[in-house]
């Protein structure tokens, strides 16, 4: 059971990074995510997806992460070709 939840956690981290909720790893420096930073990223993702904002990788969140989707990030940072500034009306 532990192996399965670790796998899901790692997949969740990878997903949050891929879609812009967590910063890309910096190849020049080892970096450890804080628990608060992770919970905040999960909450942002949950708000964006219209889920309850628990800040945890719960079943609804993991199910949403498994849904087919567009491969552009939701929060785009400094990606060269796809960068954008997020503006809200």
């Amino acid at each position: 059971a532990r192996s399965s939840s670790t796998h899901e956690f790692n997949k969740g981290l990878e997903w949050l990074t891929r879609y812009g909720y967590l910063p890309q790893p910096d190849p020049r420096a080892a970096r450890l995510q804080t628990r608060e930073e992770l919970a905040s990223a999960i909450k942002t993702m949950q708000r964006f997806a219209g889920l309850p904002t628990t800040g945890e990788l719960d079943k609804k969140t993991l199910d949403m992460m498994n849904k087919p989707r567009c491969s552009l990030p939701d929060i785009i940072g400094t990606s060269e070709l796809m960068r954008r500034r997020r503006r809200r009306r």
Binding site: S3, H7, S71, L72, L81, R83, R89
Partner: protein, 433 residues
């Protein structure tokens, strides 16, 4: 709605479908028709006008592609990511829209095929939103929500949700009075014709994954030491052994998902080696060869093996660099050539009989070096070791490839299902642990 910081500086844009799905039941006409209507959704709600243009010159190039496709955003096979598009701009790729060719693209306006495919029209409308400068929206009713929500109805009747209309209007203004994008549209598909042909019968073309071969049966097609790791190729898969002698995974990877540029329909790789002079990687299949820089094939390949100075039609079955002298050897059945990587040509006086290496049979599967400085010859289920520059195999060989390289329990067993302790006390772990 959410805007990117990119916008087209013109409102008259061209589009072209540069490549079509390889296995979809949708015809090319049908695809173009769907793309036309997906763009029309945006032109109906703004001052934009779209015309079908010629390939390469078009502002929005549509491609159906898979895996790594040279834009740093590889697709991931069926499910997961479906498509992406590049925001407007001056870069050649700006506006281009890519669909994962490994999805089951269908036309399903009435959602009759629930879960058995992805409606191309719904995804295309979303992606063109990006190509025009919109980002993902968190509004559930927006077409720009990042998650696939299923079909959105008939293309010729489709109207953008208000959120998206306001977004596109902010970028390009309202639709001009008197301008009707239909009249400025392409000749094909005719907008007045019945919108979309009937969807053909459902016939799945992709299984969940390719059936992978059993590593414990050995009989590898090709084996090569590349950058210190040994790759074992069999049919359309490969296993990868790291310098610490652990397999990256007991499950093989698909060759075409890692090595980009080999033909899709190849049956097996005959030989592979890493060139000593420039570390480029050479693949032999039949009487042709491909040269790779890392995992990407170089332009101009394949070339016939005769370009290397070999007799026309030569099928190289084994290739390796002999660490004793740094020379490259190319083997075909019971004969071999010595090849000069610097000159790009075989040396004079060849072929010679493979019998130079004593103790091994002809028609080897492949030969490679290991990081211990020794060279290993493989055939069927067995391997032979040649220490340093010896041309006679070490005593007590051949041994079992499956046992010693693939960590299988016996010479003729199937893959072990449970983790076990490997050679030299190394722990072998199953898939996810």
């Amino acid at each position: 709605y959410a805007l990117s910081d990119s916008i087209w500086k013109k409102t008259d844009l061209t589009w072209n479908v540069r490549s079509f799905p390889r296995a979809s039941q949708l015809s090319q006409e049908h695809i173009r028709n769907i793309i036309y209507y997906a763009l029309r959704a945006w032109s109906n709600a703004s001052a934009l006008i779209f015309r079908e243009g010629s390939s390469e010159q078009a502002d929005i190039l549509v491609d159906f592609t898979q895996s790594y496709h040279q834009d740093s955003y590889p697709f991931d096979g069926p499910g997961g990511t479906l498509a992406h598009a590049f925001f407007p701009g001056e870069h050649p790729i700006s506006g281009d829209t890519h669909f994962d060719d490994e999805e089951m693209w269908i036309y399903d306006p009435e959602n009759n095929f629930q879960g058995r495919g992805t409606d191309l029209f719904a995804v295309a409308v979303h992606e063109f939103g990006h190509a025009l400068g919109l980002s993902h929206s968190s509004a559930k009713e927006s077409i720009m929500i990042p998650y696939y929500q299923g079909p959105v109805g008939l293309p010729h009747q489709y109207q953008l949700p208000l959120d998206d209309v306001m977004g596109i209007e902010q970028l390009y203004g309202k639709r001009r009075l008197g301008s009707h994008p239909d009249q400025n549209g392409p000749q094909l598909p005719p907008p007045t014709a019945p919108p979309i042909p009937d969807f053909p019968p459902y016939q799945p073309t992709y299984g969940p994954r390719l059936l992978s071969p059993d590593r414990c049966k050995a009989h590898f097609d090709a084996i090569a030491n590349i950058r210190g790791e040994v790759f074992f190729f069999k049919e359309k898969h490969f296993w990868r052994m790291q310098p610490a002698r652990n397999l990256v995974s007991l499950e093989p990877a698909q060759i075409l998902r890692f090595w980009n540029g080999l033909p899709q329909d190849f049956k097996a790789i005959d030989a592979v080696y890493e060139r000593a002079n420039d570390s480029q990687i050479v693949f032999f299949i039949g009487s042709y060869y491909w040269v790779f820089t890392d995992t990407l094939v170089n332009p101009g390949y394949p070339r016939p093996s005769s370009d290397l100075g070999l007799p026309p039609g030569t099928v190289i079955g084994a290739a390796f660099v002999w660490p004793h002298n740094g020379k490259t050897y190319l083997l075909e059945k019971d004969q071999y050539w010595r090849y000069d990587d610097q000159l790009g040509h075989v040396e004079p006086g060849y072929p010679k009989p493979v019998a130079l290496w004593k103790g091994v049979p002809p028609d080897l599967d492949d030969v490679t070096r290991w990081n211990d400085g020794n060279t290993y010859f493989f055939k069927d289920t067995q391997y032979w070791r040649f220490t340093a520059g010896n041309v006679e195999s070490d005593a007590s060989y051949p041994l079992s490839t499956a046992q010693d390289w693939m960590y299988c329990q016996g010479p003729h067993t199937s893959s072990p299902s449970a983790p076990r302790r490997g050679e030299g006390g190394m722990c072998l772990c199953g898939g996810t642990s």
